[in-house]
């Protein structure tokens, strides 16, 4: 085997220019795959941060059925016990209670339907980014329980600004009677997302509880985890622990199923691109190997004449394909690493771009060891597979016919 490996390597280096061109072509394909994979990981990470960080959280707990109809009376069962459990749960990083209700917000200039969100500002700051995107005023810095923070689009619709009075009307939990309170705008935020900027209004949790008549209750607990995979792992035991006694606990993947589809689509796109690249690369390899075989057909005749079995010729050509693969992998890994490393420093600026109900940020490609093991393995396998057809052709040469061919 050692002789054939030596022969294979020396054969592919006979025409250095052709080999380097072929190797670079394959290497560029590998580098492109590594880069695309790294970019998609960065994109996924950014999407995840956007989805979970803006407001959703990495998971939520509700009363079963609340998400479907947002019935004010459907508060979390056994809230104290749930909160106590979450405080001591090793999986949980942060959590915050919320009260949610449909309502109407009225100003002197207009009226608009809103989703009213009652929050605990101190803990909510770790679960959502509303406090980070305040463009005017403040995020619940004062002591008044009549502070209201609204989105920039809503502010425009209601022609409201900091300090302006707004009247919030909601239906109470028991009986459905309407209740109204006046609030003053203390902060205006902007996510650059129509839904969030135009459809939500934040007040303090205690005020929301009082408005709806659900003192000490909450509709939603938003969570983040120490292990970021928990929110994506539907079979994680955490969800079973809190999906009981009339409550349901769901990760962000289940809360935003369309996002999973988007990410799957992105993954499929990478696979498809990889497949196209590999087909093109395989055709290039087959062409290179056939050219090499035809140039050396007399030599193969001599090898067969002196006693090389057909399998020996087959093996030699497959080894040549493998040697080409090794060279290509070396080139591709270097190119892939350099390209990805450089772009990972600066990232791709998609700040403010709205995509699938989230706002993107700067996307940083992410290098992983897997990219430098799995993709090169695929290149090796595909290159050797591509070499099999030329190898069969070489092995089936009739020695006398091969010896008659001269260049």
């Amino acid at each position: 085997m050692k002789m054939f490996l030596k022969l294979a390597w020396r054969n592919i280096m006979r025409n250095k220019r052709r080999t380097i061109i072929a190797g670079t072509t394959i290497g560029i394909g590998l580098a492109a795959l590594i880069f695309m994979d790294a970019l998609m990981i960065g994109f996924k990470n950014d999407m995840m941060r956007a989805i979970t960080g803006q407001f959703l959280g990495e998971g939520q707990i509700h009363a079963a059925g609340f998400r479907e109809n947002m019935e004010p009376a459907l508060t979390i069962r056994g809230l104290d016990g749930v909160v106590s459990g979450l405080r001591s749960d090793a999986a949980v990083d942060r959590f915050s209670l919320r009260v949610l209700s449909q309502g109407m917000l009225t100003s002197s200039s207009g009226v608009n339907a809103v989703l009213v969100v009652g929050v605990q500002p101190e803990t909510e700051a770790f679960l959502s980014q509303v406090d980070d995107v305040i463009v005017r005023g403040e995020y619940f810095k004062g002591s008044s329980d009549r502070e209201i923070v609204i989105g920039s689009k809503l502010a425009d619709l209601l022609e409201a600004d900091i300090g302006d009075r707004l009247v919030l009307t909601v239906a109470m939990a028991a009986g459905g009677e309407l209740n109204q309170e006046m609030f003053r705008v203390s902060g205006i935020y902007s996510f650059n997302l129509r839904e969030m900027d135009g459809g939500m209004a934040f007040i303090r949790l205690a005020k929301a509880q009082s408005l709806l008549g659900i003192s000490g209750q909450a509709h939603q607990i938003a969570l983040t985890f120490k292990d970021k995979m928990t929110g994506q792992t539907e079979t994680d035991p955490f969800w079973g622990r809190y999906s009981r006694n009339g409550n349901e606990a769901l990760g962000w993947v289940k809360l935003q199923p369309q996002m999973k589809s988007v990410l799957q689509l992105v993954q499929f796109a990478i696979l498809f691109l990889g497949l196209i690249l590999f087909i093109l690369v395989s055709l290039g390899i087959i062409n290179t190997l056939f050219m090499s075989i035809y140039e050396r057909i007399f030599e193969f005749g001599v090898m067969r004449a002196v006693g090389t079995r057909p399998f020996g010729v087959w093996r030699l050509i497959v080894f040549e394909a493998g040697s080409l693969a090794l060279l290509s992998i070396g080139i591709g890994l270097v190119l892939g690493f350099v390209l990805t490393f450089i772009t990972a420093q600066s990232g791709f600026n998609y700040r403010g771009v709205e995509f699938a109900k989230t706002t993107l940020n700067v996307i940083y490609p992410v290098l992983e060891l897997r990219q430098f093991l799995v993709y090169p393995l695929f290149v090796m396998i595909f290159t050797i597979l591509a070499g099999i057809y030329p190898a069969f052709h070489g092995a089936r040469l009739v020695p006398a016919k091969a010896l008659r061919r001269t260049m």
Binding site: L7, R14, V302, M303, A305, R309, P310, V398, T406
Partner: protein
């Protein structure tokens, strides 16, 4: 010469027809020929007389269209391509007109190649390579690549490669055609010495008068048929 002769190659009514653009071209027609051990035989004839084709069929590099060839008592019709390869590896040495060394292997590695196929241990391979290179006058040049060798040097290495596995038979197709007369003569002397000293069998396809003069048997081919078969004394 070895007097314990045995038939190494027996060709029975061998025919070989090629197809060129759909037209059948008979290259060898009804040849009956026996090559015995220890022979130093020249196949002669004009270009296109079928010398190379006959050599290819006799060695199993090609199969006859009809008729049969027996190699050391075994019909090639019963042998698979792999078995024919093994037979050539172990029993037949080849010397080609254009030397045909593998250009990416050194002189030593080219000679070693066949022993590698025979699974001869490395130390033994190395020993025999150095011995044979000395015999053909190439001592000290074992690490040279073929492009760095002259035509005569390459042909010496080719002869060494053909002999190193101690085959029953060496087939040489115009081995001196690309050499000057002095080099050709020197190489011919080496082959004669091997024939006389070790009883190695040689069959040449040739136009070279020097070989014809040294040959013990001259088989003349014309239009694919044996037109003459002259055995000489000495």
């Amino acid at each position: 010469m070895n007097n314990n002769k045995r038939a190494l190659i027996v060709a029975e009514n061998v025919e070989k027809v090629y197809s060129e653009n759909g037209v059948p071209v008979p290259a060898v027609r009804g040849v009956d020929l026996t090559i015995e051990s220890g022979e130093f035989t020249a196949l002669v004839g004009p270009s296109g007389s079928g010398k190379t084709t006959l050599l290819n069929v006799l060695s199993g590099l090609d199969r006859p269209t009809s008729g049969d060839v027996h190699l050391d008592g075994r019909s090639i019709a019963t042998m698979s391509p792999g078995e024919l390869s093994d037979f050539r590896r172990d029993h037949i040495g080849f010397i080609f007109q254009a030397y045909n060394l593998i250009p990416v292997l050194t002189a030593e590695e080219n000679i070693e190649y066949i022993m590698y196929l025979q699974k001869v241990p490395h130390a033994e391979r190395h020993r025999r390579v150095l011995e044979i290179l000395d015999l053909v006058g190439m001592k000290g040049l074992e690490k040279r690549m073929p492009p760095k060798l002259s035509g005569g040097q390459q042909q010496r290495v080719a002869i060494a490669r053909a002999m190193v596995s101690r085959p029953l038979l060496i087939l040489a197709d115009e081995p001196t055609a690309n050499l000057d007369s002095k080099t050709g003569s020197d190489l011919l002397d080496i082959m004669c010495d091997l024939n006389h000293g070790l009883g190695m069998t040689f069959v040449f396809s040739t136009h070279d008068k020097m070989i014809m003069e040294k040959a013990h048997r001259v088989v003349t081919l014309k239009d694919g048929k044996v037109a003459g078969d002259e055995v000489r004394e000495g």
